[in-house]
Point group: C2
Chain length 233, copies 2
Amino acid sequence: MPIEVVAFDADDTLWHNEPLFVDTKAKFQELLSAYHSAEWIEERLYETEVRNLEHFGYGIKSFTLSMIETAVELTEGRIRGSDVQRIVDFAKSMVDQPVQLLDFVEETVKTLAATFPLVLVTKGDLFDQESKIARSGLGDLFRSVEVVTNKDRSTYEAITNKLDVAPDGFLMVGDSLKSDILPVLDMGGYAIHVPYDTTWRHEEVPADVLDGYEFQEAASIREVPRIVGELSR
Amino acid sequence: MPIEVVAFDADDTLWHNEPLFVDTKAKFQELLSAYHSAEWIEERLYETEVRNLEHFGYGIKSFTLSMIETAVELTEGRIRGSDVQRIVDFAKSMVDQPVQLLDFVEETVKTLAATFPLVLVTKGDLFDQESKIARSGLGDLFRSVEVVTNKDRSTYEAITNKLDVAPDGFLMVGDSLKSDILPVLDMGGYAIHVPYDTTWRHEEVPADVLDGYEFQEAASIREVPRIVGELSR
């Protein structure tokens, strides 16, 4: 079956994202350093983030509300108003951050767009993702952009249905095994994993979960056109 | 030209939404009542909300970050941590609120779905909107759901393009003149205005802006099938 559509994840696949969260966490730890150790702050923030996913979903605003809750909790309510404001300012600085493409992204996406219809499949906050797509300068290379609240098998089935593409005509490129690779393989599609330096703990999967899965691994997005070419043969 | 697609706004057209914000504002005013008058709190909150639209967009999380900023500002930083937490809890209670359909919505949408492909076009937070659509029980009646960050003429042009529908084959039903009616008329489509009791100030338009626009006004969504029938003749 030939590949009909090539889909890309966005955050940490096309542009840097996780470092923005890591940097902000460091500022947050600094802000609360009079109260607790960096490790303990990180641990409690992570717990709050995961607990809040069901209320607020993914993205910067959700992360910010979790930082605020964690700050109140860890200071036993003694957090100062000015520090609460600083946390809100962290959020503004995050959303206003320039979009930094990863190496080789622009040429790779252009090359592939000449041969395949490209789709962007990204999780998170609609407002923030649309803004990043616009600022990336890559928007016009994608035939469609799907901002989704979660990436599981049924998400990818809905997308292939909508695009009228067979599951085994769909290839996904992304950095997250949990969100970009495994659910696409479960559906019967193809996937190329391009690992990123840093992965949010919530996106990690234990090694044994990978048993029996077959997918391609690329050290750089630059290798994707060659691998797609080989798979299409 | 016959109507090819009937599109609906969601918040305050299919289900109650604005009262949730109004009620939460009342709780917020109560929370800060030791510091300022309700009117002044409302005024400053509105200013913060509008200023933050460019950073955070529409929706509950954005509104909550604006409440927190306003609370810090209006208490000159003296807001207590426990009150900050209460504001975050307002947000959780908002997202967890049951979806309350407006009167006659269910039967009207079912009736129309038998004759026209229906589309839902809603502004706001993706996570929150998807959750409300799922909980409304109406999701399956809509051929497609478009959650958008803004509703202007180009938004509706992109939607009609995507649906492969001519602008004058597109009819929109909604409560907001600014977001649901005028941009659709500007595109060359049809619109039925079904006013809601309460409108957020930011959605209001001055009366003279309406000069020269032609659209239908319905007191209840129940009148929509008849009006659509007349327009299609």
